[in-house]
Amino acid sequence: MAQAPTTPPAVVHQEEHEKTTTGLNHKKLLMWAFLASDCMFFGTLIATYLVYKGKSKVGALPEDVFSIPVTSVSTFVLLMSSMSMVLAYAALRRGSLKGFRIWLLSTILLGSTFLGFQVFEFYEFVNHEVTIDCHEFAANPDGFSPFEAGIAGDECTEGVDEYEGTHGLTPRTNLFGTTFFTLTGLHGTHVTIGVIWLLGLFFYSFKKGAVTPARHLDTDLAALYWHFVDVVWIIIFPVVYLFGVFEGFPT
C-alpha cells in the first residue's frame, strides 16, 4: 500500500532554519550591528558632556538640581525592568505564554515608570525653585553654591529678608543644560521606543501562533534592545549624576 509522501523530519528541521553566509540569523546580526553603532552614538554624547563639564558660566549646575535619591530609585526601576524582560524571554522559551505576557507587561510598566521619573526630573529642572535666606547668606556666604550665591548677590538687596524665585535649567541655560538634556533626552527617547516596541510585542502575542517557543526571535531582538538601554544607563548614572554631585575632587 502506497503511502502519501511525507516530509522527512530532517528536511522539516532544515526549513525552520535560515541558510545564511554566516550561519547566523541576519536580523539578529543586524541588531547587534545596530547596538554596536549605538554605543558610538552614546559614546559621543557622553564625551561631549564630559568635555563641557564645569565650563558653564551661568545657570544651575549639577549640584544645584540633581537629586541622587530620586535618580537612584529610577535606576533601580530600570534594572528591575531588565530582569523582568529576561524573565519574559525565559518564560517564552519554557513555553509559558502566560508567564511571558505577565513579565513583559511588568517590563512595560517598569519602563513607563522610569520614563515617568525622567519627565518628573525634567519638569523639576525646568521649574527649579531657589529659596535664599538673605540673612543666612550674609552670615555664611560659603554655605551657598556659586549659582545660589550669584542669585543672592543680585536679589538680596537692602530690606529683603528672603528671596524666592524660579531659576530653571533648560537646554538653552548653559552648556551643562545643553549636554545633559541631549544625552538623557536621547536615552529617554530610546526607552520610549523600547516601551512602544514591547507594547507592540505584547499585543502581537495574542495573535495565534505569532509568539511561540519556536518563534522567539522577535522577543529576543526586543529584549536585546531593552537590555542595551539598561547598560547605557549603567554608564550614564555614575558619569553624569554621581560625578555631578561628587564633592571630593580638589578645587
Binding site: 530532517a10 559614546g43 564625551a47 524582560m85 518563534r215 522567539h216 537590555h227 547598560v231 554621581l242 571630593g248
Partner: protein, 116 residues
C-alpha cells in the same frame, strides 16, 4: 549525501533564535537571572555609597569604572546572552564598544586635554 548536507546545515545554520545550533543549551535559570539582578542592585548601592566618601578624591574614578564595567558585563553576558550566544555577536558588540571608547577618548583628547 543529501542527508549529510542537511546535517551540516543543521550544525551551521541559525535557528529562529538567531544563534548557532547548540549555543542555547546552557541558558541560565530564572534564579540566576534574579541573582544577577540582585548583584546589579548591590553594586549600584555601593556606587552611591562610595560617592558619599569625599576622601576618595580622584580614587573614585577607577573604583566607579570597575563597578560600572562589572555591571555592564553582567547585563551583557547574562541578560543579553553574550556568554551563551555565538562568538560573532560578542565580537561585534565588543568591537563597537572599543570604537565607542576610541570616540570618547578622541573627543576628550581634542576638546579637553589639548584644548582644540
Amino acid at each position: 549525501m543529501a542527508t549529510e548536507q542537511m546535517t551540516d546545515d543543521h550544525t551551521l545554520a541559525a535557528g529562529p533564535n538567531g544563534a548557532a545550533e547548540g549555543s542555547h543549551s546552557e541558558h541560565p535559570t530564572p534564579l540566576t537571572y534574579f541573582k544577577v539582578a540582585m548583584t546589579l542592585v548591590v553594586l549600584t548601592i555601593l556606587e552611591v555609597v562610595l560617592f558619599l566618601i569625599d576622601a576618595l578624591s580622584y580614587g573614585i574614578i577607577p573604583v566607579i569604572a570597575i563597578l560600572s564595567i562589572a555591571k555592564f558585563a553582567l547585563v551583557g553576558l547574562f541578560y543579553m546572552h553574550l556568554r551563551f550566544d555565538h562568538r560573532l555577536f560578542y565580537t561585534m558588540f565588543v568591537v563597537g564598544l572599543f570604537l565607542a571608547l576610541g570616540v570618547v577618548f578622541a573627543i576628550m583628547g581634542l576638546f579637553s586635554w589639548f584644548d582644540v
